[in-house]
């Protein structure tokens, strides 16, 4: 309560010191902060690139794209600009478009980028338009490596808890097939040796090799994901740690436990806590990107494992609806709308998209259960940031230019509508398409982005 009063006092003092322009901003500016939660390879960077391209083309060149986005009617958009977001590196939109022009997909995100999209709308209200001729709708987006987000749930665990749960994951699901080498390393390792820098490095290096291998094989729940990126500010070479056998984690006096526990705490305090504060702070809308193809490409266990990962991620956010007072005065936002989005939906035929949507519903079940009793609106969407495929000769087929430059047709057997329908011993290889020459037209032909934005921005239609 005291905190709230102090915050309110701060706001009042800040408001008192505002100039006329800034005061006008309070009434003529509408800010939406989007947190986009996506695992590695879920298509966040491409989605951002498409989103900016679509909105710019719509407002500046008058292209009739995003037809279902009623919230920003083209006739009312005066202009649109991209601005940097304080404290973040600018999102490399131009570089990504240049890469597409050269036939390359945008490179994977290895550090946090932030940007603001400011859309200036004509004021239509009869009286307000004389006082404030326009309204600025500000969208704040943050793009960050998917590897970081999987680490955030580690904040609520002790080292021993994390180690034990990681071993449980390594012994079940698809991870068990990829962790054999790592298990052998642990079994042969002599824990009677002191935890010197060289010994720790050897163990951390072996565990990191497992993480790299499992990531390549489509595993999404990999902790600590930050060890996979050199761009992470945490020095994993010096403060690295790995899960240890329970015989060691149950003995708090064991030198290896003590060493790794210390490193784990450093990881939490020096890396995860500031990361959560800077990136996953106040937000009112959350988009959870899911790449179902990673699971379809591998196995049913991969899909279950994806479901588990999403469920863990849902713990990371503050759910609940913020009212005008908390939003405008206390500036405290809670997530009020959540969109579960399956990306790259154009990689399967239109006839199979209903099944894909059903799969998405199932995969998000665990995450949705986290906000069951809260006033959260949620919806599921299929999105293609770029329409890279064409209609095939039948309803079950799509056509695209593959990575070798050949124009091919892929025919699909029915996509399973539920996780249990996913046949054991069978998989759906992901079409590996190259960037089409007409990439801009195909970005503007992308589907589902308008539906998604309308849901997040609209007032429940």
């Amino acid at each position: 309560m005291q905190k709230n009063i102090a915050a309110l006092l701060d706001k009042t003092l800040a408001a008192a010191s505002l100039t006329g322009d800034k005061l006008a901003d309070v009434f003529s500016k509408e800010t939406h902060r989007f947190t986009i939660t996506g695992l590695s390879r879920s298509g966040k960077s491409m989605l951002f690139t498409s989103l900016i391209t679509m909105l710019k083309s719509r407002s500046e060149e008058g292209y009739a794209c995003l037809p279902l986005l009623r919230y920003l009617p083209p006739s009312q958009v005066l202009d649109m600009r991209v601005e940097p977001l304080d404290g973040y590196k600018a999102f490399p939109h131009q570089e990504n478009v240049a890469a597409l022009a050269q036939g390359q997909w945008p490179s994977a995100t290895e550090e946090a980028y932030g940007f603001k999209l400011v859309v200036r709308l004509k004021q239509t209200a009869t009286f307000k338009k004389h006082l404030l001729p326009h309204t600025d709708v500000v969208f704040e987006f943050i793009d960050y490596p998917g590897e970081w987000i999987t680490d955030i749930p580690m904040l609520s665990k002790t080292y021993a808890q994390w180690s034990d749960s990681t071993w449980a994951q390594l012994s079940s699901g698809p991870q068990q097939y990829y962790a054999e080498t790592w298990r052998q390393v642990i079994n042969q390792f002599d824990f009677e040796q002191p935890p010197t820098a060289a010994n720790i490095h050897a163990l951390v290096h072996a565990y990191r090799n497992y993480l790299i291998y499992a990531k390549r094989e489509g595993i999404s729940l990999l902790q600590p994901g930050s060890f996979l990126l050199d761009s992470s500010d945490f020095n994993w070479q010096e403060f690295g740690f790995t899960p240890l056998p329970s015989s060691i984690t149950s003995d708090v006096s064991h030198p290896w436990y003590q060493a790794f526990n210390k490193h784990f705490c450093a990881f939490q305090n020096n890396w995860l806590t500031p990361l959560k504060q800077s990136i996953f702070k106040e937000t009112d809308k959350q988009i959870i990107l899911v790449d179902l193809f990673e699971g379809l490409n591998h196995s049913r266990q991969h899909l279950y494992q994806l479901k588990e990962t999403l469920s863990h991620l849902a713990d990371t956010f503050v759910y609940g609806q913020s009212n005008w007072f908390s939003r405008k005065v206390l500036k405290s936002e809670q997530i009020g709308k959540v969109a579960f989005v399956a990306t790259k939906a154009d990689l399967i035929p239109v006839s199979q998209r209903e099944n894909l949507l059903n799969l998405l519903h199932q995969v998000s079940e665990g995450a949705r259960a986290k906000f069951k009793d809260k006033p959260i609106e949620f919806e599921h969407f299929l999105v293609s940031a770029m329409q890279i495929t064409d209609e095939g000769s039948s309803a079950q087929a799509i056509r695209y230019t593959d990575s070798n430059g050949r124009y091919v047709e892929s025919s699909f057997e029915p996509i399973p509508a539920t996780l249990k329908d996913m046949e054991e011993g069978a998989h759906f290889p992901v079409p590996s398409a190259q960037v089409p020459n007409d990439y801009k037209a195909r970005i503007l032909a992308g589907k589902g982005v308008d539906r998604l934005l309308q849901f997040l921005l609209g007032k429940g239609e």
Binding site: E61, G62, C65, L68, D390, E409, A426, S432
Partner: protein, 320 residues
């Protein structure tokens, strides 16, 4: 655990090995070039003009020309017979005059047929509009919304859109709607899109046109030197309003609608007449000064504008 994509080497195949996974996707190379995706249509600034751009000679003008030619022809023919005194001996002249007359009759008949077809089409369009209203109501009802089918909605919307006359604002909006439709849209989304791209803009444009026409009606009433000219001006602007609004909606008022409009028009003229008398009387009472005349004309202008707006609203109600 071994999986490999057996059918397509270009697909991202899992690389682990112990079980052989069957690919549920088969891929074949095509011997054709990929189609090029076109950029979406650009929504240019609202350049639609309420007046039809003249494209050559219209049938109206042609009919008039034939008519004038026929009359002239008969004059010439009369003169010719007077001069020659023997019609039977001059078959060419008679033939030419016959052709001109025939042209007039044919053109006139065609115009009549077109009008009749237009009136018939309007009634069907009104039924379509009723169907759209029903669908929009269903869209707002969550239970019925889930039962709506894309095919059914598409059918109703396309039938409605097909009836808009070429070059009308509604036809332009409908074309924009067709260019924006995507194959993954649900029935409710299609309806919403139709509302946004056709129904709402047409309605907005109709109101804009009506406002403009009402201001013109007021201005004409203000500058009219006497009541007779004022009445003619009001009648002319009323007909122009009907014509322009019909251009916006892409429909003409049906026979029944025309009758209703004529009634409104007659009432407007009568009201304008009564208002003229009243303002004359007030002007007489307060004297014949310039300011009194100004007051009288201003009041008449406001009345003319308001009456024209009344006509327009009746028209919007009919065509909506």
């Amino acid at each position: 655990m071994d999986k490999s994509a057996s059918s397509a080497d270009d697909e991202k195949a899992p690389t682990t090995t112990s079980t052989r996974y069957r690919s549920k996707v088969t891929t074949q190379t095509l011997d054709i070039q990929p189609p090029e995706t076109k950029l979406p249509v650009q929504v240019e600034q609202d350049a639609w003009q309420v007046d039809v751009e003249k494209e050559g000679i219209s049938f109206g003008v042609t009919t008039l020309v034939f008519g004038v030619l026929s009359v002239l022809g008969f004059f010439v023919f009369d003169a010719y017979t007077t001069l020659s005194a023997n019609m039977a001996e001059h078959p060419i002249g008679t033939g030419v005059l016959g052709v001109l007359l025939a042209g007039f009759v044919v053109s006139f008949s065609y115009l009549s047929l077109r009008e009749w077809r237009g009136y018939k089409q309007v009634n069907t369009a009104m039924n379509d509009a009723q169907n759209i209203r029903t669908l929009l109501q269903e869209k707002r009802d969550p239970l019925k919304r889930s039962e709506m089918r894309v095919k059914q909605v598409n059918g109703v919307l396309n039938e409605h859109g097909k009836r808009f006359s070429r070059g009308s604002y509604a036809a332009q909006c409908f074309m924009r709607y067709q260019q924006t439709v995507q194959d993954d849209m649900s029935a409710a989304e299609l309806l919403g899109l139709y509302e946004d791209t056709v129904l709402a803009p047409v309605q907005e444009k109709a109101h804009k046109v009506l406002n403009k026409e009402s201001i013109t009606a007021g201005s004409l009433a203000f500058i009219s030197p006497n009541n007779l000219i004022q009445t003619f001006a009001v009648v002319w602007i009323s007909f122009r309003t009907i014509r322009r609004m019909a251009r916006v909606y892409g429909l003409r008022p049906s026979t029944a609608g025309n009758w209703k409009l004529l009634k409104v028009l007659a009432q407007n003229i009568a009201a304008q007449g009564v208002f003229d008398l009243a303002t004359d009387e007030v002007a007489n009472q307060i004297g014949g000064s310039l300011s009194a005349k100004f007051m009288e004309n201003s009041a008449e202008a406001i009345a003319a504008g308001a009456l024209n707006a009344r006509l327009g609203r009746a028209l919007i109600k009919l065509l909506k």
